[in-house]
């Protein structure tokens, strides 16, 4: 049996969902019997592969870089999973939305800085006007809320997807879990 290809992507989130994914612990060995991890912040591959079966997306879509990344990921993924509250609801990153980009950038790079306060002009991708949940940009196949979703929830959802079933998400996790 050929193994399925699994990828994980990290957009605007705290990496807590990836930590929770690692908390699957020894069950990761069970998992890698069924899947190859072909792209992830946790492994060394630099380019997103052409045909991925399952991609877990952590984080909200906050800047130009996230926007381009998620469109590319969607185009090359069969089953896209929004992993955790930031991907599902935009969560904590969305708390800047009521204030607007200008005010937020000024606060971060000028008002709170004592040494050479200045707005970034390079290296930092421009922020989008609003932080948005992943399904607001591209089609999402499975939403797995939680901050972070528990390792058990992630594992159960992955097992279901690998076996071609739809995971019963409401039984596994909830917003803020």
């Amino acid at each position: 049996m050929t193994k399925l290809k699994l990828a994980t992507v990290w957009l605007d989130g705290c990496s807590g969902c990836h930590m929770s994914f690692l908390d699957i612990d020894e069950r990761l060995l069970e998992l890698v019997e069924k899947v190859d991890i072909v792209y992830s912040p946790l492994v060394d591959f630099k380019a997103f592969p052409d045909a991925v079966d399952i991609t877990l997306v952590e984080g909200a879509v906050s800047n130009q870089d996230d926007l381009e990344k998620i469109k590319k990921v969607r185009a090359h993924t069969r089953l896209l999973v929004a992993l955790g509250d930031c991907a599902v609801t935009a969560n904590v990153p969305s708390m800047r939305n009521p204030f607007g980009v200008d005010q937020v950038v000024k606060r971060a790079y000028e008002e709170n800085v004592t040494l050479q306060p200045q707005l970034p002009t390079q290296a930092v991708p421009p922020l989008l006007k609003r932080v948005r949940p992943v399904h607001d940009i591209v089609t999402v196949d499975v939403h797995l809320p939680g901050c972070p979703p528990s390792a058990d929830a992630i594992f159960a959802a992955l097992v279901a997807l690998v076996e071609g079933r739809t995971p019963d998400v409401a039984a596994l996790t909830r917003f803020g879990a």
């Binding site: 599902v88 609801t89 969305s94 009521p98 939403h143």
Partner: protein
Amino acid sequence: MTTPSQVLTLKIDGQDVTGRADETILQVARENGIHIPTLCFLDSLSPLGACRLCLVEIKGSPRLFAACVTYIAEGMEVLTKSDRLNKYRRMIVELLFAERNHICSICVANGHCDLQDLAREMGVTYVDFPYRYPRLGVDASHERFGLDHNRCVLCMRCVRVCGEVEGAHTWDVAGRGIEAHVSADLDFPWGDSDTCTSCGKCVQVCPTGALFKKGVAAAEMVKHRSFLVRLTAMREEAE
């Protein structure tokens, strides 16, 4: 002509049930162990029909009825579960999430929230409506309690418990439509209220983390509501 104490027979979800003429569909359903989801409804407070989660179908009418404010009638056939009802109930929960800034992960009521519980019950795992992200304030002027408008769903439980049970009527709703918000007295800072007795009943009945005790961190605001039924029962005995 029916009298309030008259016993009526009706069907709820195909089950033959009886109730008094002065009882609502929700009351009779609960007495018979039939679950209807609710949000603004709270035992011992006057029913309001604001949240529309308890909508039910009644045979012979194309309209949907709020079970908490609709009295039973002889021969009525009520349906509490259907694809149509489920669709609307899910929509209501999603709209409540989209309307203000509900960030569950950092909320004092995380894990003890009626809105969160409803999302889970309805199988809402994401919100299909665009979030509004309104800019709303937090009123921290009261010595012991806080009000975070970002988390308010306008169920008016606080307004009712304050007026009907405490008798202070500090809370009310100011503004119209999307501008509506709970306000203390004449839209004053809560801490400046002359009428508030600081009893904390509003904090306990609030379904979300909108009203909270100061000093609690995320997920620590557990609400205690048993006082409400007890107080009401004791008052009825006294009368």
